[in-house]
């Protein structure tokens, strides 16, 4: 599966895993009997994904599905347990400290919480200017000028350069975080829930700003969010994650109009639509229960415990992402390219088992 990076692909993620060991299962644990079983959180469990140049790839999922961990593992802010992240023919997952730091210039991140991600004791000028100094890109007068430009690029006045983060609103702070990410002229930005902490009217401002910057600076985004409406709006393609695994990837329009995997169907049908007429008539797919714990997740298809279409085989077979329709991948053994719509599949049948597995 280790395809090298092609022309139009910025990042190739291959079988990436991030497991957190919670302990337990050791000789002493068994003796005392408190933690007899080893407990592992499989936050990201074998994700493969290509991100194309200039696109916004939306990564969506519910809390605990591993979407933020995946974003952080790509940049190695969280150490991957296994797998590869190819960027310009280098495997970021296996670079040494110094080499990794050199590459970090090209890959940046914007965080969710604009209050926690800015140092309260640094001025805006210092915050935005720090990456310039770290990578030796500019100093002194030149650096200051660059910081002023960056502030104006993100829609802040350059007069703000000597102010501290507490003097700004949430939306303005998020702009400062964006300016900091842009300081080193990156190719690729992980935007981890960049609008979740903001008011509705400010969310639109930040989405539009990110979109303008992408066009002007030819950026590629991995846009992580639990907000399906925002994801739909900003993304070219959308990847859906459930309990550490990708379950569906397709073009944004397609996945919202015609989701194939049962979890995606339920997720999209659960989004409230700001239109009373639509809300009054639409049919929701109600899922029973909660997302299971990512500690020792269910075997087979991880969604089988809540899936209205689950059959016996779903408890055993781990479904792979299969190209069900052109450029539309889904992980479900009950559908296949020949029969992509689960509603039409005969009860108990698993056409995906014959073709893809």
């Amino acid at each position: 599966m280790t395809t090298p990076v092609t022309n139009s692909t910025v990042l190739s993620i291959r079988d990436l895993k991030v497991h957190f060991d919670l302990g337990g299962g050791g000789p002493l644990d068994r003796l005392i009997g408190t933690n007899p079983v080893k407990r592992v959180v499989k936050a990201v469990d074998g994700v493969s994904l290509d991100i194309y140049e200039g696109e916004t790839l939306g990564l969506v999922g519910e809390s605990g599905c591993g979407k933020s961990t995946l974003g952080r593992a790509i940049l190695r802010l969280t150490e991957p347990t296994d797998g590869h992240v190819f960027y310009r023919d280098r495997d970021l997952a296996h670079l040494s400290g110094r080499q990794l730091r050199e590459q970090r210039r090209h890959l940046q991140i914007i965080f969710q919480d604009p209050y926690a991600s800015l140092n309260p004791r640094m001025t805006v000028g210092q915050i935005v200017g720090e990456p310039l100094a770290t990578f030796g890109l500019a100093r002194g007068r030149e650096a200051e000028q660059r910081v002023q430009e960056l502030l104006e690029t993100v829609g802040l006045s350059k007069r703000f350069i000597k102010r501290y983060p507490h003097e700004f609103s949430g939306g303005q702070r998020q702009r400062i975080g964006i300016a900091r990410a842009l300081a080193v002229d990156p190719d690729f930005i992980v935007a981890d829930e960049p609008i979740s902490a903001l008011d509705v009217s400010i969310q639109a401002q930040i989405m539009n700003l990110l979109e303008r910057l992408r066009r002007e600076k030819n950026l590629t985004y991995l846009f992580i969010s639990h907000d399906l409406r925002a994801i739909r709006h900003v993304s070219d393609r959308v990847a859906v994650m459930y309990l550490g695994k990708l379950v569906e990837i397709a073009d944004a329009k397609t996945i919202y109009r015609e989701p194939l995997m049962p979890y995606t169907k339920a997720l999209i049908s659960a989004v409230p639509v700001p239109d009373p007429q639509v809300e009054a008539t639409r049919q929701r797919i109600m899922l029973e229960g909660d997302v299971p714990s990512p500690i020792n997740p269910p075997p087979g298809c991880r969604f089988h415990t809540r899936c209205p279409y689950a059959i016996e085989a779903c408890r055993e077979v781990v479904p792979q992402l299969v190209e069900i329709k052109p450029a539309h991948f889904a992980a479900c053994i009950r559908i296949s390219p020949a029969e992509p719509h689960i509603e039409n599949v005969a009860p108990g049948a698993a056409p995906g088992l014959e073709t893809g597995h």
């Binding site: 939306g171 639109a204 409230p272 639509v273 700001p274």
Partner: protein, 357 residues
């Protein structure tokens, strides 16, 4: 599905109405906070009615006064620094603002119940779920311990806690977020309140769980006839859940209307901007409309319309004079100098013939 403690009494309660059919009437309510920064007029002269059995949505961004409005209704404003400066809250012929502390305590939880955004911080972490539920009916309905326990189990079953009897003696941390919110709803509905105030009840929850909780509130409302005030920032939730909507901005009601009309034909530039700035998950959109600027600092409001600095309909008069509250239709009001123009503009030709006032 619902098991009322005393069905006969409940039907009686529901038949009793105020002289004009309103369960709740808020008149000229003003709640101010005395802060270091000056007097914050968090809620400034608002009036509205809630008819029995209806759901009223209150929408607004942070700091708009939507939560303070509801805390004022049940007199939970921390004093100091807050103070209900003037107004009336008529709940079934009684002005709640004139009641003694003891009298209002008998209403809270018994006849008006609340659920809050964060179910973890509103449940006592040291008390078993069952005991927290029992407290309600022992206090308000005079249940014995055994009666209260049985009632608690029934309520947990009603809100869809699987295996309620076995799980009733768990502690809150043993429940997931969605389950805790179900417990909060069970607790709120224990005494069959006539009014349920839900303050961002699903904001902290995942979208599939949000769908479950909203559906639960709808079902219980249908079965018990409880009136609901739903506070939210999510226009999608409002569209699917409410009969009437109030849009708040800077402590004022900017627009109020029947839900269908507010969405199809807004009469206020702020509402209009808000509706256009929310991405629609099913319709195709180009660039998202954005309301420029920031929500105002309520402690330092300038004369004129508080929305004027961000408004795309702004005229010279808006900066000078506070706007009038214009009636546009039966049950439709807008706080704007140009309410009629905005209303006419947003109506499609069909409606505007019938609807112009």
């Amino acid at each position: 599905m619902f098991h009322p403690a005393n069905p006969v009494k409940m039907t009686l309660l529901n038949k009793m109405t105020t002289t004009n059919g309103n369960l709740l009437e808020v008149k000229n309510l003003r709640t101010y906070f005395d802060t270091e920064d000056g007097i914050v007029k968090a809620v400034d002269d608002i009036s509205f009615q809630l008819k029995r059995g209806e759901t009223l949505g209150i929408v607004g961004e942070s700091g708009s006064g939507k939560s303070v409005t509801n805390l004022s209704i049940i007199r939970l404003i921390p004093d100091p620094p807050g103070k209900i400066v003037s107004g009336e809250v008529i709940f079934k012929d009684n002005d709640l603002l004139l009641l003694s502390n003891e009298a209002i305590r008998k209403i809270r939880g018994r006849r008006i119940a609340m659920i809050f955004q964060d179910p973890m911080t509103s449940l006592n972490p040291f008390m078993k779920i069952s005991r927290q539920l029992m407290e309600m009916t022992q206090l308000h309905l005079g249940h014995t311990k055994a009666q209260a326990y049985e009632h608690a189990i029934r309520m947990l079953e009603t809100v869809g806690i699987p295996d309620a009897r076995a799980r009733a003696d768990s502690y809150p941390h043993e429940f997931s977020g969605g389950m805790r919110q179900r417990v909060m709803i069970a607790m709120a509905l224990s005494c069959e309140p006539e009014l349920l105030i839900a303050d961002e009840p699903t904001t902290a929850l995942d979208v599939t769980i949000q769908a479950q909780i909203l559906e639960l509130i709808k079902t219980l409302k249908r079965e018990t006839g409880t009136s609901v005030i739903l506070i939210t920032h999510d226009l999608g939730v409002v569209a699917g859940m409410t009969d009437h909507v109030i849009v708040m901005y800077a402590g004022k009601i900017f627009e109020q209307a029947r839900t269908a009309e507010l969405f199809s034909r807004p009469g206020n530039p702020y509402t209009k901007g808000l509706l256009r700035s929310v991405p629609d998950p099913i319709a195709e959109q180009g660039k998202l409309y954005q309301i420029p600027g920031q929500p105002p600092d309520v402690a330092h409001l300038k004369p004129g319309c508080p929305f004027a600095p961000r408004c795309d309909h702004v005229q010279e008069i808006c900066h000078r004079e506070f706007p009038p509250f214009v009636q546009l239709n039966a049950d439709h009001y807008s706080l704007c100098h140009f309410a009629r123009e905005v209303f006419a503009e947003s109506g499609n030709p069909q409606i505007s013939q019938i609807g112009s006032v």
